[in-house]
Amino acid sequence: MTEEKKEKKEKKEKVNKAKKLPRHPMPEQEAKVRAHNFDEVPLGYSNETAMLEASRCLRCKKPKCVEGCPVNVKIPEFIGLIADGDFLKAAHKLKETNALPAICGRVCPQESQCEIKCVLNKKGDPVAIGRLERFAADYERAQGKIELPEIKPATGKKVAVIGGGPAGLTAAGDLIKLGHQVTIFEALHKTGGVLVYGIPEFRLPKAIVQAEVDYLKALGVEVVESYVVGRIETVDELLERFDACFIGTGAGLPVFMKIEGENLNGVYSANEYLTRSNLMKAYLFPEYDTPIVVGKRVATFGGGNVAMDSSRTALRLGAEKSYIIYRRSMDEMPARDEEIHHAGEEGVEFLLLANPERLIGDEKGWLTGVECIKMELGEPDESGRRRPVPIEGSEFVVDVDTVVVAIGNGPNPLVPSTTPDLKTNRWGNIDADPETGATNMPGVYAGGDIVTGAATVIQAMGAGKIAAAAIHEYLNGE
């Protein structure tokens, strides 16, 4: 038998073995219980399960999974270390390319990034890369043995990172390791951006975000909170005391439906609903001072992850009914399958192929219902999804006292509008080179949702990474 044939045979055996070993499910809080608390839903792998799951990885020589990852995590290598029981080393391996593994292990859409590319996917279930990533990062944190990476000698260059979300945190982490002095300016009183104001505790515990921010601080990153760049100091002013700027201010401008009754009491943007609950901890009112309208019957408009987060938050706040109203069908829903599945399990009801047309209120200005029209799917539109078309005369009213509008966000205009030289596109997103994050202003880079429009945490991190490398090059050439 030739070498090549031998190798092929070995691989086949490995695949067969992996196929026999099923993908290990993640233990979860029971749906009925968790629908009434804010504790995290998935409970994480045990050491034994993690090792078994890791043993399913074929350690491909040319791993496709790595190509699928926006920050090119060394997937087979860290999974190999888990299989060997060397969990700490696995975490360190992760951190070589990904500053926030505990977060990515929880909120990345692995099924459309790394896991979809897994070779096993063709013949069965892919390796649970996300769950293993989470496992290794959690293990390291629980051990309290956070290893600080090597920091290059100080360059004397200073970089301002505007916005402490996923893009900014990643850029800051990479730049500090390269020896630059880094300051993050965060507008809110807590750093983390969407990770603290948007994603609920039951999906991403805030203590994990805090640990990641503390890690960056331990590396030497200075974090200035409650500092609204654009108002207290403009980008042009920052450039007088910093050598370069990275703008990662996110997609913080809620889009409303522009239908009648949208300013009625009881109507929230998802940003407001989630910010009140997550950042301000309104679910703990009155121990925490920020109130929230606890509706009995809540409808969330939209079919993305933010809509799932909102409808599931409503249940936990005490809603008896929590509806998702979405104008297309389940197949077109942009939310992750896992989120849709979790929401359904917990009791969220889906009113599909229905579009809100008008919000109805009482004389005191409080919402009492939403009039919807039934839709049917027509020809595919530019997004490739079948376009929903209203069915004439099919209007119906759903009685609700709270509505959460979760149909998307525009770019936050605060920084672009106060930086006159900065080029933006017609939607208000900053024009930045996708290869480098460079804007039209020398020394000013941008990335994340402020450039691309609403996307995922890991895509924003990828943009932060690219920009950090480009900023490093720019500072070296200066």
Partner: protein, 292 residues
Amino acid sequence: MNRIVAKEEFSQNPSVKMMQIEAPRIARKAKGGQFVVFRLDETGERVPLTVADTDPEKGLVTIIFQEVGKSTMKLGKFEVGDCLADFIGPLGQPTHMGDFGTVLCVAGGIGIAPTHNIVKALKAHGNKIITIIGARTKDLIFWEDKMRDLSDELYVCTDDGSYGTHGLVTKVEQELLEKNRESGEIGLVIGIGPPIMMKFVCKTSEPFGIKTLVSLPTIMVDATGMCGACRITVGGETKFVCVDGPEFDGHKVDFDELLKRQSIYLKQEKVAVERYQRGDDCGCCSECGGDE
């Protein structure tokens, strides 16, 4: 940071207090019409408050507040030397500066505070200032001297007649605008105070066709344009007060909607205040649920 360096009680019932906060960057940057957001402690809410005055050299920002809810009551208990967890600003658009000729400023109650900072800027810009300050009763009038110094003419009135002209600010406003018919020198009216008062300041000025600005005290959370809690209809369009405002053309503001939206959390506010006044809220860990 955010240390209170001066505190004064202007009136007791309702309690109106003045504080000077050490916030050098904000003091240097804040312009007339802009606001700040404060958060008292870890469990606190984010509360917007229009800047009453600044001292850029000493690095001080003056705020004036009426104790209406739990957060303002609690802030009232803070003493000189205490620090606020967060003091964020300056936020919102500054008052648009220009040569308006004469500006008629109508300030009601707590609205005297933001009006002061706006008048200061308009005066420095070379405008002639006529100011009307009014309140329910004499005790609630404050900063009369400061306003007199900045204004070319100052009128004081009280609803109960205990001081100055007996009657509402709009009565004096009406008289002054009537008088102005011939000279036509008033190019701008600014009305700041409780929403209902602003509504009537606008109603009074509307027939005279003089542009009238109001500063809207809406509910906010992040105050950077992210949540939309502060949205309000102006001229048929939804605007975010925190980034588009806080000042708007008062003749276009839907005040009835504003008044309704102001009432969203009245129930919760009552719960919070009762709990605070019972002493359940010791400001500690809240582990005991107020039992100890």
